[in-house]
Amino acid sequence: MESAAVQEWINHVIKPEQNEKYMDNGKTFIDETYINETLMAKKQPEKQEIREIITKSLDLQRLEPEDTAALLNCTDEDLWEEMYATGLKIKEKVYGRRIVTFAPLYISNYCVNNCVYCGFRKSNNHTFRQQLTMDELREEIKALVSKGHKRLIMVYGEHPLSDVDYIAETLRVAYSTKVGNGEIRRANVNAAPESIEDYRKLKEVGIGTFQVFQETYHPAVYKKLHPSGLKANYGWRLYSLHRAMEAGIDDVGIGALFGLYDWKFEVMGLLAHTIDLENKFGGVGPHTISFPRLEPAVNTPFVEKTSYKIDDDSFKKLVTVIRLSVPYTGMILTARENAKVRQNVIPVGITQIDAGSNIGIGGYAREALDYNRQQFILGDNRSLDEAVRDLSLMGRITSFCTADYRCGRTGSCFMGFAKEGKIHNLCMPNAILTFKEYLLDYAGEETKKAGEPLIEQELAALPNPTVKAKTLEYLKRIEAGERDLFF
């Protein structure tokens, strides 16, 4: 049973009328029967059909559910190799050879929900509960900035203590805390679904992207895994990003937690979500798609028992299908995955990763791993510097760029550029400039050695002579001490 105060808060937060207008004839965009029938109808796709779909993706066209179902059901390993290669081509066509890097920052793990797979669930008395004060938050930000981070995803439990006013205050602190040349330039948020009025408050303080993951799109499974709390309301969560868009937060991130239900159904759910956002907001779908895999958590036996665990091979395939299905959208691969998996999956079309991550509350300032303060257990514990170096050795430049949302390239504007494959014209020079800042201010000697030749290589590869000349000029100014120069 919820305490009366918490139940009152939940009742206050949820406004059903804000969802109803986005439903079609009272139905959500997740049509379980249609998804299952489409997957069944495309059970044995022909080789020619798969190749035609690959061509469509290469033209940066969003796939239809029938196309995605065909890809998901492909059993020909040679065709999968073609799809992996296509994922990389698409990603480089849209965004270039850069990987945007950020840090997750867990702010509060008080939670009213009881998600059976989550270490932060209310009933888990093995978890040490903490919410950062603004002073503690400043220390976390300073620790992150001192390592070279410029972008954050700030994560909050769903609880009255971390309501929208608290989140807005933490964003103000994140943006105003500086250390030497360093500062946070883009703060994204992963938090409880809000009402339209509350999303407006977050917009006012300069939020980057607002993320809400549906976890599972399957309504019955969702109900079973989210027995109580704010999150027990499937529809409130399903339309949370519609409300965010209506409030003017024009960059939103969707995701599913893979391992809760059939992975093919979840990929179809992510596509349906994308299509519905695009249909209702003038062609603007999600800015990013995430596909975290279920990981162990303290005192959380469900994770060991689930029959929907996904092996590494299937994981790579589902990421590839998402890349091909929504070719122009950012894709985030987190440090839940170990370094080996990340090195293997990044080349199929990943655009963003986190690095040097610590997901314990207060973990960066303490420089400590503490599983009792974590939502789950991380797979990749490399430092930011090690991850940057490894990416360099893979021929990929680490980008800390935040220029788009500071130059009005947001929402429909960003999506227009991305869909036409134009955004990489600026992604690569901005990646070079932010990478140079990182190498000068934060990198170890080995990373500098691996990174400097990459800057030369990518500078030489810039196709536009005016942009190349200006990038060269900016690089000289950065070497002379200027910072935050961007296109």
């Binding site: 943006y175 330039r185 883009r186 917009k203 006012e204 303080v205 300069g206 939020i207 980057g208 003017g248 024009d250 935040t402 220029a403 949302y405 500071r406 130059c407 009005g408 390239r409 947001t410 929402g411 429909s412 504007c413 960003f414 227009g416 550029f417 036409e420 134009k422 955004i423 014209n425 600026l426 020079p429 536009n464 005016t466 942009v467 200006k470 961007f486 296109f487």
Partner: protein
Amino acid sequence: MNRLRAVVEERQRDEDLDFIKACHEVLAELYPSLHLRWVRIYGKRWAYIYGNSGYLDQGSLRIQLSQDYGICIDNAELVAPLELDQLAAIIKEHFNAKVVV
């Protein structure tokens, strides 16, 4: 320049977005090749509200017009810097006039 000044004078009571669209129209006639977009400023975030979303070869020149609004010009070299300053100053008059003391 006079046409832009006239818009500022005639549309003082307009909603911000209507005023912005009117200014955009004048600027598009004066400089048909100029690629500019209007933004609403929320702290570090300059959020797109109107204008160029088709041309992208070079970086943007950012001009803050008020606490809440700005413009980003993707090929600002087409206009002499002095002229650009004058245009921005005229548009700023509209927003300055709205400040309640």
